[in-house]
Every structure is written in C-alpha cells, then in structure tokens.
C-alpha cells in the first residue's frame, strides 16, 4: 500500500506542476483599490476614474506632459468675452453601436447638472447655462460667467461622455458601462477582479492587446510575488522595503514619477488650541516631513502649503516648514498650551501608510511635549465621523488627490463649515471666488498665491509632501502609463513583447 500511495501522490503533484495559467495577449494589473461604481457621473473616487478611463472618453484629456489635449473634441475656441465655448467633434461610435455626436455631449452635460443624478461634481457645471448642438459635430456651451477651470473639468474623468439614448433609458452605467472607450467591460467581480476586452472599433485605433485583467490585491507582498512570477504585468503598490528587490530584478522595471497627492496631517481648527495658528505652525515645525515621507510613503518631496510639490500655483516664497523643535516649543509656550495637552488622532483603517505616518507624527510630537492618543478607525467610520458628520478628531492623516485646476483642490476652503478642518474666512472666500471666474491667468496666479500663502501662515494641516507614484512593470510590457495628476490607468497603447 505504501509505495502505491507514494506513486499516486507523486503523479498528482507532477500533474499540477504545469505552468500557471496565463494568457500572452492579456495585460494583468494588480492594484489595491477597486472602483465604487463605473458610472463616472456619480462618484469622485480616484479608483473609479482609474478604470472608467478605459470605457469612456472625455472631450479633452490630459497628455503625458500634463497639458490638455484633444480627444472627442478635435478643436475648440472661446469667444472674446469668455462666455461661449465651441467644440468641434470627432467621428466615433459607442460600444452599443450608436454614433457619437453633439446630442451626446448635450445629454451628458445635462445629466451632470440634473439634481436627480446627484453628481458630486455638479457645481463644476453650474456655470454652464446652456449646451447647444449647433450641428451634428459642433457643440456650443453658453456660460453665465467666464470659467477658466472649465477645460480642466472637461478633461477630468467625471466629464466622460455617455450615449444620449442610454441616458434617456436610464441605463445602469454603474454595472454596465457604455462609452466610446478603447475597452468594454467583460466582467466585474467585486473585491476580486475586473476583465476588460479591447474595443476593435475604437476611434483612435484598436488596442494592441486582447484585453486587460485588473486584480484587486491589498497586500503589497502578494502583488510583488505575482509580478515576479509573471502572473501580473503591472503592480501599483510597491512597499518601501521592496524597492531594492524590484530594482535588482532584471525582469522588472521600477517607475517613479511625481504624483498629484498632497499628504497631510489634518488639524481640526475648531478644537481648543488648534484654533490658534501659532499652535498649528508649531506642530508643523515639530514634524520632520522628509522623515515621515521616507518612513511611511517610500520617499517624496516636502510641501509647505496645500498643493502638490512642483505645482506652478505654489508661490516661490512658500517653503516647507522643516523641523525646528526650539521654535516649536517657543510657539507652544507663547500660545499658552498646557503641559498635559493631549491630541486625539484618528487614523483610517485600510491605509497602512497613513497609519504609519500617524505613528511617526505621534512620536515627533512627543519630543515637544505633546501627548497623542492614536485610534485606528475603519474607513466607513472615518468617512462618517471624522471627515463628515460630527468631525470627531483633533488630528487625522490623509492624502488629497491631484486636480487639474486649483479650484478642484481649494474650493470649499473659504467657508469653515464646508471643509473638515474648519478653515476659511472672508478673505480666502473672496480670493477663491475671483479665481473661479477671472479668466486672466495672471490674476488667477495672484489670488491662488494669496490663498496658498494663507494656508501656509495659518496652516490647517501639518504638511508632509507629495510622494512619488511608484509602480513596477514587467520588462515585456510596453506603452503602459498613468495620467499625470489624475492617476488613471491608460491601456490604450499597451503591447506585450
């Protein structure tokens, strides 16, 4: 009996030792965040737009250099008063076979504006008074006031163009996306994977690959293993400790690019002592932002105000705070902060790096005599109790995603009730209103400079910086890239050698 069992076992093991299931013509990407929905008009989640980019197109898009490029609109012009925008449209067709034309643009903008849609970005379209199909391939937008940020809005994922017929029939875009995009949805299994199939009729030419599989794997070690064994071609989360492993592996390529994130420890300025700008400056001076970036986020560039590093909107005279413990202690004394002051720090559960950063900050604040109670809360609780609802926190750590125009990041910081940190006054509100409606680039540069200077002088955040966007790609992959600032996956030019 013994030899037979052994033989059987061996045969069984051998039978399964064939190579793992892979398909040469599909790209597999592993990432940690899945979309909440595939309806681009009802979400503001970066993870959603990372995926919708493949199913839908926008009128204009962000190119590799960060500039705005034509997509469904081949050309556009603005009237002298800045109130009429005219777009010429390309020839394209939707996944359901219907032809893309001006009526789809009209229906899309109207859907975004409609209360019933509930778009979180509706306010960005409020300035549009009318959208008119001038011809089959020409569309005009009439604005109530000049809107210099409109092009940035139209280039962002939430302005994806949907087919008018499907809009009229109240189609379930959340589960069954229909757009003009380079890929169609094959299957989406929540928490597991999403399969995309190439759209042979894509108006810019069919993709080189048959399809894409996106797998949701939270664990970065598992992502790396999948990449090394060839089960995945792209891994988006590389742990700091694993960077040397990737760099040493000849089959892998490490990509480091600036991201659009602003990483911060947010301070609830409604709370005692935190309502004093001197205390908030002291906290900034107590923290060594470079160390936080290195330890928690795999490196990055420090920032001194609420804008990603390298942004042209940050005034040249606004610098990162750096660390100065003596100055920090002096400011705390001046503000009369008691010795037993204890801060309540709420950290969001699924985000390991934010939790690590919070613990580093806790340690650093201890050096200037501030006690910090750390509690880790689940994401749902963070959203409803910290970021929203009662805003029950003194300090939390989070990253604010990149936006193409400063309105996207800064609007809402003019009124204390409109943002979670309780920042804002009439000056800031006035500057923001000016920036929203003045088309003169110099005026905008000046007013946003004022806002960002104020957010440095009376900081509602302890600024960390902008991390590098670090991801790893197998050597056989060509043409994969992520949109600057928006971080969307672009599979359109991918080929596998």
């Amino acid at each position: 009996m013994q030899p037979r069992v052994l033989r059987l076992t061996l045969t069984f093991i051998l039978a399964f030792t064939l190579t793992a299931w892979t398909s040469a013509e599909r790209l597999t990407l592993v990432t940690d965040a899945q979309p909440d929905t595939l309806d681009p008009h009802v979400t503001s989640a970066t993870s959603a737009f990372q995926h919708t980019k493949s199913f839908y197109d926008t009128l204009v898009e962000v190119g590799r250099d960060g500039s705005i490029q034509p997509l469904l609109a081949t050309d556009w012009s603005v009237s002298d008063d800045g109130l009429t925008w005219r777009f010429e449209l390309t020839e394209a067709s939707f996944h359901d076979g219907t032809t893309f034309d001006a009526s789809d643009v009209v229906a899309t903008i109207q859907r975004l504006q409609a209360d019933a849609t509930g778009s979180p970005k509706a306010s960005e379209y409020a300035v549009i008074e009318a959208v008119v199909a001038v011809g089959e391939r020409t569309v005009e937008m009439q604005l109530a006031a000049p809107a210099p940020a409109l092009l940035a809005t139209l280039a962002s994922g939430w302005s994806a163009i949907l087919p008018s017929e499907k809009i009229a029939s109240d189609h379930d875009f959340a589960n069954e996306p229909v757009g003009t995009g380079a890929f169609t949805l094959e299957r989406w299994t929540r928490d597991s994977d999403m399969r995309l199939a190439a759209n042979p009729a894509y108006f810019l030419g069919a993709p080189n690959i048959e399809g894409v599989t996106v797998r949701y794997v939270g664990d970065s070690a598992l992502q790396l293993q999948a990449l090394r064994t060839g089960e995945a071609h792209v891994a988006t989360a590389i742990a700091t400790a694993d960077l040397p492993v990737v760099e040493a592996d000849g089959n892998l390529r490490l990509v480091r690019e600036p991201s659009g994130l602003a990483l911060v420890a947010s301070l609830n300025t409604r709370r005692p002592y935190l309502d004093d700008p001197r205390v908030r400056r002291a906290l900034n001076l107590a923290v060594d932002e470079q160390t936080v970036l290195n330890v928690a986020y795999g490196g990055g560039t420090p920032i001194g105000t609420f804008m990603e590093a390298g942004s042209p909107w940050t005034p040249a005279d606004v610098m990162p705070f750096g660390q100065d413990l003596n100055e920090a202690r002096a400011l705390l004394d001046e503000a009369g902060v008691p010795d037993d002051w204890t801060l309540d720090m709420a950290l969001p559960q699924p985000y390991e790096s934010h939790i690590t950063a919070g613990q580093v900050v806790q340690d650093m604040l201890g050096d200037v005599g501030i006690d910090v109670n750390v509690r880790v809360v689940e994401w749902g609780v963070w959203l409803s109790e910290v970021y929203g609802g009662p805003r029950d926190f003194d300090v939390t750590v989070i990253g604010h995603t990149g936006k193409l125009d400063p309105t996207g990041r800064l609007d809402g910081y003019g009124q204390p009730s409109e943002n979670y940190v309780g920042f804002g006054d009439s000056d800031v509100a006035e500057w923001l209103a000016e920036g929203r409606s003045n088309a003169d680039p110099e005026v905008r540069q000046a007013v946003y400079g004022d806002v960002l200077r104020r957010m440095h002088a009376a900081p509602p955040f302890v600024y960390f910086g902008t991390p590098d966007r670090t991801y790893a790609v197998r050597a056989e992959v060509d043409g994969f890239w992520m949109t600057p600032l928006l971080d969307s996956f672009d599979f359109r030019e991918v080929s596998l050698n």
């Binding site: 909440d36 509930g118 959203l383």
Partner: protein, 311 residues
C-alpha cells in the same frame, strides 16, 4: 411525526435567530453603506441623499421587517453597494465556493477515513503514531497561516501553482490548479479531525462481538477490515456533516488568503461595505446549507444503522 415537527421547529428557530443577530450586528456597527458610497463627498451632505435613495433613512426595525417580508416572497433584496439583486450576486459567487468546498470535502474525507482506518489497524505502531502526530498538527494549524505557507512554498518558491485568483472560463484544468492549494488548506484540519474519529470508531468496532464471530468463522483479513470500516462509518457521519456544512464558513478565511471570488470574499466585502442585504443573503445560504446537511446526516445515519431507529 412529532419528532419531525420538533426538528423542523428547532431548525426554524435557529434560522430566525441567526438572521436576526446578523442584521442587528450589522446595524450596530458604526458607519453605513451611504457614507461609504458618498465617500469624500459625504461631507458636503451627499451621504444624506444617498441614504434616502437606499432607504437607509428608515428606522432599522422597519427595514428588518421589510427584509423578512421580501424573503417570504422569495426576494433577497437589492445590494446597497452594487444596486443589483442579491440573488444574482450570490449565484455568481456560488460556483467558486461550491467547487472549493466540494474539492476540500473529497480530499478531507478520503484522507481522513483512509488515515484513520490505517492507524486503527496498526494501532500502537509507528504508522499509528505518525497519523496521531498529523492529527495533532493538522488541528493546531490556523488556516490563514497554513494557506500562506503553501502559497510561499508551491506558488512562490517552486512556482508550480498559480499564486491567487481564479481565471473566469479558464476550463477545468486551470480551475483545478487554482483550487488545489486552497482545497488542501481547508482539507488538512478536517482530515485530521476525521482521522482521529474514524480511528477511534474502527478500534471500537473491532472489539465488537460480530467481528469476533466473523474471525472465528474464518473470514479473511481484507474482508474483516472492510467490514470494520463500514460498520464504523455511520458513526463518523455527524462529523462529516458538520464538516461539510461548516466548509462554507471555512472558505471565508481561505478565500481571502488565495484571492478567490467566492461567497466568503463576498461576505467580507459586504460587511466592510455595510451591505446588509448581501451579508444577509450569504448568511442565509450558509445557515440553510448547514441545517440541511445536518438534517440529511441525521436521516442517513438512521437509514444506515438500524440500531439507531428505535431511539
């Protein structure tokens, strides 16, 4: 007849109790599906609109009653996260878990019965000690740890088997490759438990009078062993049923480790999304399977072992 009614009654009560506790536990957790769906826009009051659209602004007893009245009409409700009927979501995930649990059950039962019987026939020998060591280790190993160990060894170190996931429409062969390690992970502790019980049962049956009679009548060793195992099996049925019924919950951890898109993954995803109807749907299925399997084992045991019928 009264026995039947009592059994059905206790099963019904268990079912209602489990569903109620699940519902209340989910309600008691902080955060809700609306705030998660509204995400960063919740702060601007969008969560209230979502909450209204999902009927989450209604008090929980009202939603609880609505869930039962839906269920009585055969409606499991609509997912709060996916806006799709819960029944179709559960049906999509069911094949993965069913295949995994089925494979694990075949592995564990085969290994458990064979090892148990083998150890019993060689009681006191090196083989017996080996099997007993295996049962001790098998029972002590936590599934997530053992699963990771298998992954590291066979998917990373040797790279013989795929690391995670399940290719949709990948054919029987690819599916088996992906399910092998998770099924083994699930099977080992169960096989250990079964081996232990089968060993004890076979040892016991060897001491029984009918076997001694058979020996005195000159029956061959092979036949005696077969008879002893067959006589012991009905005694192992309750444990087998417990294992089969419990496999559905056992897959929760293992599906997480191996990234399999089954019911376990759906349950975990549902809980973190506060998707009450989905969690209720999966729980309903798990409890239903558990109760039905145990009921069937009860009946089967009575059918196989005449001695139990008078009880």
């Amino acid at each position: 007849m009264t026995r039947w009614l009592r059994t059905a009654g206790s099963f019904g009560l268990t079912f209602v109790l489990v569903m109620t506790v699940t519902f209340i536990a989910l309600e008691a957790l902080p955060g809700d599906a609306a705030s998660l769906r509204a995400g960063f826009d919740g702060g601007s009051g969008r969560d209230a609109a979502v909450r209204e659209a999902l009927n989450l602004d209604r008090p929980w007893p009202e939603r609880y009653v609505a869930w039962w009245s839906g269920l009585l009409q055969g409606d499991l409700g609509v997912s709060l996260r996916e806006d799709r009927p819960v029944a179709s979501i559960v049906l999509e995930r069911l094949p993965v878990t069913a295949a995994l649990a089925g494979l694990a059950f075949v592995f564990s039962t085969t290994a458990g019965v064979l090892l148990g019987a083998w150890a019993a026939f060689r009681a006191g020998s090196g083989i017996d000690r080996g099997v007993r060591a295996f049962t001790a280790v098998g029972l002590a190993m936590p599934e997530f740890w053992f699963g990771f160990l298998l992954l590291l060894l066979f998917a990373v170190e040797f790279a013989w088997l795929p690391l995670f996931g399940l290719p949709p429409g990948g054919g029987v062969w690819a599916t088996l490759q992906h399910l092998l390690l998770p099924a083994v992970t699930l099977a080992v502790p169960r096989a250990a438990r079964q081996a232990r019980v089968v060993r004890a049962l076979v040892l016991e049956s060897r001491r029984e009078a009918w076997l001694r009679t058979a020996v005195s009548k000159g029956a061959g060793t092979g036949r005696l062993r077969r008879q002893a195992v067959l006589a012991a099996l009905p005694g192992a049925l309750p444990l087998l049923a417990l294992d089969l019924g419990g496999l559905l919950t056992g897959t929760i951890v293992v599906e997480q480790v191996f990234g399999l898109p089954g019911l376990g993954a759906l349950l975990i995803g549902g809980i973190s999304a506060r998707d009450v109807p989905v969690v209720q749907g999966v729980t309903l299925l798990a409890v239903g399977v558990f109760l039905v399997v145990n009921l069937m084992s009860d009946l089967l045991q009575q059918a196989l072992d005449p001695r139990l019928r008078d009880a």
